[in-house]
Symmetry: C5
Subunit: 362 residues, 5 copies
Amino acid sequence: MRIPSKKDKKSKKATASKSLGKAPGELVYTGDKENLETLLEVHEYTIDEHQTYETKQIKKVFDVKGNNRVTWINVNGLNNAEDITKIGEYFKIHPLILEDIVNTNQRPKIDEFDNYIFVVLKMLYHNKENELLTEHISFIIGTDYVLTFQETDEDIFNPIRKRFLNQKSRLRSMGSDYLAFSLMDAIIDNYAVVIETFGTKVELIEDELFLESPREDISRDIQYLKQDLLRLRRSILPSREVISRIVKSESELITVKTYEYLKDLQDHILQINDNIDLYREMVWGLMDMHMTTISNKMNGIMKVLTIISTIFIPLTFIVGVYGMNFNYIPELQYKYGYFALWGIMIILFLALLIFFRRKKWL
Amino acid sequence: MRIPSKKDKKSKKATASKSLGKAPGELVYTGDKENLETLLEVHEYTIDEHQTYETKQIKKVFDVKGNNRVTWINVNGLNNAEDITKIGEYFKIHPLILEDIVNTNQRPKIDEFDNYIFVVLKMLYHNKENELLTEHISFIIGTDYVLTFQETDEDIFNPIRKRFLNQKSRLRSMGSDYLAFSLMDAIIDNYAVVIETFGTKVELIEDELFLESPREDISRDIQYLKQDLLRLRRSILPSREVISRIVKSESELITVKTYEYLKDLQDHILQINDNIDLYREMVWGLMDMHMTTISNKMNGIMKVLTIISTIFIPLTFIVGVYGMNFNYIPELQYKYGYFALWGIMIILFLALLIFFRRKKWL
Amino acid sequence: MRIPSKKDKKSKKATASKSLGKAPGELVYTGDKENLETLLEVHEYTIDEHQTYETKQIKKVFDVKGNNRVTWINVNGLNNAEDITKIGEYFKIHPLILEDIVNTNQRPKIDEFDNYIFVVLKMLYHNKENELLTEHISFIIGTDYVLTFQETDEDIFNPIRKRFLNQKSRLRSMGSDYLAFSLMDAIIDNYAVVIETFGTKVELIEDELFLESPREDISRDIQYLKQDLLRLRRSILPSREVISRIVKSESELITVKTYEYLKDLQDHILQINDNIDLYREMVWGLMDMHMTTISNKMNGIMKVLTIISTIFIPLTFIVGVYGMNFNYIPELQYKYGYFALWGIMIILFLALLIFFRRKKWL
Amino acid sequence: MRIPSKKDKKSKKATASKSLGKAPGELVYTGDKENLETLLEVHEYTIDEHQTYETKQIKKVFDVKGNNRVTWINVNGLNNAEDITKIGEYFKIHPLILEDIVNTNQRPKIDEFDNYIFVVLKMLYHNKENELLTEHISFIIGTDYVLTFQETDEDIFNPIRKRFLNQKSRLRSMGSDYLAFSLMDAIIDNYAVVIETFGTKVELIEDELFLESPREDISRDIQYLKQDLLRLRRSILPSREVISRIVKSESELITVKTYEYLKDLQDHILQINDNIDLYREMVWGLMDMHMTTISNKMNGIMKVLTIISTIFIPLTFIVGVYGMNFNYIPELQYKYGYFALWGIMIILFLALLIFFRRKKWL
Amino acid sequence: MRIPSKKDKKSKKATASKSLGKAPGELVYTGDKENLETLLEVHEYTIDEHQTYETKQIKKVFDVKGNNRVTWINVNGLNNAEDITKIGEYFKIHPLILEDIVNTNQRPKIDEFDNYIFVVLKMLYHNKENELLTEHISFIIGTDYVLTFQETDEDIFNPIRKRFLNQKSRLRSMGSDYLAFSLMDAIIDNYAVVIETFGTKVELIEDELFLESPREDISRDIQYLKQDLLRLRRSILPSREVISRIVKSESELITVKTYEYLKDLQDHILQINDNIDLYREMVWGLMDMHMTTISNKMNGIMKVLTIISTIFIPLTFIVGVYGMNFNYIPELQYKYGYFALWGIMIILFLALLIFFRRKKWL
Ligand SMILES: [Mg+2]
Ligand SMILES: [Mg+2]
Ligand SMILES: [Mg+2]
Ligand SMILES: [Mg+2]
Ligand SMILES: [Mg+2]
Ligand SMILES: [Mg+2]
Ligand SMILES: [Mg+2]
Ligand SMILES: [Mg+2]
Ligand SMILES: [Mg+2]
Ligand SMILES: [Mg+2]
Ligand SMILES: [Mg+2]
Ligand SMILES: [Mg+2]
Ligand SMILES: [Mg+2]
Ligand SMILES: [Mg+2]
Ligand SMILES: [Mg+2]
Ligand SMILES: [Mg+2]
Ligand SMILES: [Mg+2]
Ligand SMILES: [Mg+2]
Ligand SMILES: [Mg+2]
Ligand SMILES: [Mg+2]
Ligand SMILES: [Mg+2]
Ligand SMILES: [Mg+2]
Ligand SMILES: [Mg+2]
Ligand SMILES: [Mg+2]
Ligand SMILES: [Mg+2]
Ligand SMILES: [Mg+2]
Ligand SMILES: [Mg+2]
Ligand SMILES: [Mg+2]
Ligand SMILES: [Mg+2]
Ligand SMILES: [Mg+2]
Ligand SMILES: [Mg+2]
């Protein structure tokens, strides 16, 4: 799902009413990646071997548990309630958790059970066309397996897939908790990139505001930045508490060795929050600054108008006086009347110039 | 009760003084659904059977307790103090609780007693005419019964009434706590729909603000949005704490099996709060944006005025000069004086155009 | 004491310096109800009998304690340090507490001692002339007596005085803690009325702002609303914590039976706080809205000016051209020159009208 | 030290760099009361006797301890590091505490040691010339002595000096903790006076803003109020936590009897904080109100300009038409052409007046 | 690294993507001080002797541990991953900590291990060219050694290097925790200087705003101040929590004697935070004030325009009337018509002046 821009907002309208009146635990996919077949990507590994395959047959993966390996099952596509239910039943996942897995409106959360930990995050990334996508992603962290559920098969886990191939990588020698950490770490490192890209946009607009004549519609762009930030923030902010609760978790599924890595994750998410706060203040400041710029320009326009009017309106009055047709206007008879009047008008003109310079208008 | 719009505010005026000076525990209905007869809707069910009937005879329902079934008594109409008191006495409800049941000003709250849990929520929904209604609703959750008290017989519980008919539904096999959860869940799912509808309005106005010439009175609409949001928020916000306290409750009336469902409820209310916060920031941003738009338009108007004035005021002065009736104005005698003046004026005109282009006004 | 409006603020000036340099425990009345004699109103009651009298002789009430009845002594007038001291000594009240009783600047507070609980509140009410008054009121809650201290004998306790007469009222059968609750309840119910009246004012101004031409000085009224709300809030807000601490109190002076009633009090004060917050946001929004209205009107004025100027300034230039006195202006000789010029000017006029319509100024 | 106004800010510049690179515990006086000799004022008292003297010989006071009396040593002048060090050594005060005593940038704080409690406050008061001064003051509260350190010998402790003379005053019969309380109480009572004076200024400016034509430079005054409040707040706000921590202290140096008095101190500081918050909102509101006033005035000016222009610009065009020199302008030949034109112009004039009245501009 | 000003922002762009996809614990230097050789500065000391040397051979320092002395190894240059890794391995530092040491985006943090405490701060200082630099600095505090890691060999520790030479300095007689304190103290004292310098800038701009005609582009400067403050705040604010956690630490690496010194550090950082808050409010206030100034100036300009127009537009109309060429205009025949008209016009002129004075425009 793309971070909704102005145009595709309407497609979002029916979301909340979709699940209205449904019994709790009934699976309703609320996203827009519909009509996709569920595709499973499986990685099984120990320190000695690593095996991977893809399949659309759900049942094929149901013998992976309990074989002394760590297994990662990456489920792509959330719109087939039946498939998700099958997986849920095999791994004994609570029906309400399954509902959260397919409910793309679910905010980032963590839920600890005896046999697994459930985590929801939002995966943000730029695709090849450089569009910002946001995808609903869930984790089931079990003793020796990790399930991930995402809307499409596009994701940001390629560096981790590569690390599997390297036998010396820490990933191969550690358990399912470290695997889950690595996947979340990939997601959160991408937040940093997304925020950085956002920051670049903020600075571009700021640079433009500092120009003498920024575009008329720059306020529109600032408004878009505000909206984008509000939406980014909604996706990212709740992650902080999620990660903080994993760090504080006393579940046996999280081993001591992984603890330091999770704290590092927490560091990163705090760093990202600092940056969101910073850009928030900066974007709000842009609007204030734009208003000041508009006011300054208006001042400039008014000065020009006032200077011209103040000089020429009185002069026009004067020449009007001597355009009158009274029988007896003595000045009109003077030989050099016309030239004397020019003299007077030039003096008046200069006096007004001095007045404006005193007022610092020139 | 409708979310009060501008017109019906006056009808609300006397609310607080209505109960002024009354002894605590004296029942004073503060809403506007007066002169209604109390109507009771009763559902009794076990996993094996389900029975339902409506009655206006209060006493008829007083033999339902202790028959090994779960009973839901839905009381419609809060203006008959006597009826409410009778029910309260039979179910041993504290007089102050009865007072809260009929006091539509009561904010969402929870109160735990040994024999029952008392919950107040606000039910928000669009009726058939698509008006947004808000109704005061209270729950008494006992060991094997749930009482609900609402102002009118219009409500949003139809999906639950249907679920009763399905013997396999979870509702039929679980206790009164799950029934109460289902009813509250219906209410909170409707909050999501109401907020979503509000969000659509916000986006419509935003779209209009991005137009070249939004309506003059759009600021009025933004103001209405602000007021609506403030009122929505007041109805919904306190629910968060209510639900959070049910989740943390150690009452024996809440069974372990229902706990996961209540946590799910809490998720939903948090999600709704996120959205309220988002729309709040967006609505406030609309006002800022509107101000910027107004200022931008004023700038445009001023530019037109200044350009026209700056060009023609000096020219008008010049032609005024040669309209003077001095005896001796040498230029007037030149054969091509008139045409020379036109040349000068055209040059001046062009010079000013270049000046405006330099200033980026054209 | 009235909520100070613009005019009587000056009379408040010397308050803080009044008690400057005084030793702690020295009684300094800081209010403006000076030169009043202390008047005591006494109610003694059991479930069987009720007796009431008024007296100005302080010592007369000193035999009321320990006679198995509940006694309410309502002390009116705080400016006689000597009288207050006598009462304080008889009931063994700490000198610092006596200081708080007469110090009208004391914010709402609660202080628990072994033999009594001390509570300060602000009593807000409209008097017969419909002026909003605020009065400093203190409670001493003992085992079988309640003392109240207020600045004048005007108060809002009449409904309670009536309830004394009704032998079946709960008041007659319960202890001093319930009496204290009833008195505080009366005060807090009046907050609701005061806030509601304030809300009506807010809505009146809002309605006026929505008019085409609100009064010029409406910003003054909004400013007064702001100030009034700030002052109301300062009187009411601290009550929330006071009531919350009574509810959580473990003093033996508060019996279990009264606990539910105190929680109800807490509900009411929370409700009132919700409303204060709501009106706060609304009043601040009024200012924003007023600014937008002003800007909109300015836009309208500027448009009229610009349309008129843009049409007539060029036309005036043109007629000026043919008012010049050059010897040779060929157009002036054309038979229908004058009418041709009118044609040109009408075309120019229409072209400008079309231009303005395109700009949506007309 | 005066609360720095615009003019004396520059003298403050070097403060932070003064102590840069110094080892911790090195005494650096950072204030501006330099070149003063250290002056000690000593009060020794029991309930039976009271003795007081002044001296510049530091060693003279070193036999006061342990003589069964309460001793107050008031040290005036902080710029002689050597003197402060001598006193510190005799009373066994930690070098870092001595550093805080002479560091006028130190914010209000409390530090508890086994043998003494250390408190820093800011003393605010108006001197005889009615200038607001702020002075750094520190307390060392020992078993039977109190040391105070202030920058100059001007202070606000005279009422306490007088109370020493009265054998019946509570001060004479209680210990060093009550003495310390009395001194701090004097300081905090003065905060109330300072805040009240500030409030008077706020109300004066508010009154002026409500006038038809406030001074042009009133925004400057509002800006000064903002700055003053920010600086007042910085001096006073941290005191709240200091006092709150004294109240909660479990040090043996604070006796039970003094506890009620300290709670009273806390009441006062909370009251002062309420007032600071109130004035803060009021001052910020003044700026908003001033902006509205400016906009309203601009509207008035624009209306006058637009009315005049809209009436006379078209009329001037018309008279221009009949000032043209075309050979054939039929209207000019009509006998009553001139008077007819006047008629038309008067009708136009009246029509425009009606138009303006409709627009509510007149 | 300099606090990025407008110009060098672009160089910052690639930071977050640099470490994207890297495995946790892989060292990626994210700063801009690249291509530097790692330079180690070593100080070994007891109370009796002090020895110092510099080296680029990492291994040379690996025999310093366990020789009963305190050793400070100051590592300059973070871009050689290999060197940092070698040091990390010798001192048994967790790979994630090494990552934080070279990651200049890491916000201030503290991490306690059994054998060492890890602290990150930002070092802010003005270099010789008076540019504000910000550098990422990390501390490893062991039993008898302190490691510091900074980006360049420029720093602010010279006063401490001098103190080493003085045998009587506290530094020589205390352990590694006091050494670490001294270094952090130097950093935090420099924050005070940086903030003070910032404050001076704020006051310069404030002074300029109070001038009659501040520079047109002063809003740009205010905007820069805002940005600078936001960035300063981001570097400094997290230090408060870091220091607070060192103070509360129960690590055995922190001795009781150092505790008072750390609390002093905490005092300083709180003081700095007070100042940041103060300047924040002041800078935001500057923008408001600037807006008011602009509006005031616009008012002034409008007044001049309106006065001139309102006086001369009607007069110009009048003279236009008598410039008309009607055959019969009786006034034109009057002998003193011209002079009479002048009289009327002067009266009109004076009447308008009086009108403006009444409106307080003159
Ligand atoms: Mg990162
Ligand atoms: Mg999303
Ligand atoms: Mg890290
Ligand atoms: Mg950061
Ligand atoms: Mg900014
Ligand atoms: Mg803003
Ligand atoms: Mg802002
Ligand atoms: Mg109630
Ligand atoms: Mg929902
Ligand atoms: Mg409601
Ligand atoms: Mg859910
Ligand atoms: Mg959401
Ligand atoms: Mg927005
Ligand atoms: Mg705003
Ligand atoms: Mg007191
Ligand atoms: Mg009051
Ligand atoms: Mg109430
Ligand atoms: Mg409410
Ligand atoms: Mg509003
Ligand atoms: Mg607002
Ligand atoms: Mg210190
Ligand atoms: Mg100070
Ligand atoms: Mg006080
Ligand atoms: Mg107060
Ligand atoms: Mg205000
Ligand atoms: Mg404001
Ligand atoms: Mg940095
Ligand atoms: Mg410092
Ligand atoms: Mg400070
Ligand atoms: Mg300020
Ligand atoms: Mg502001």
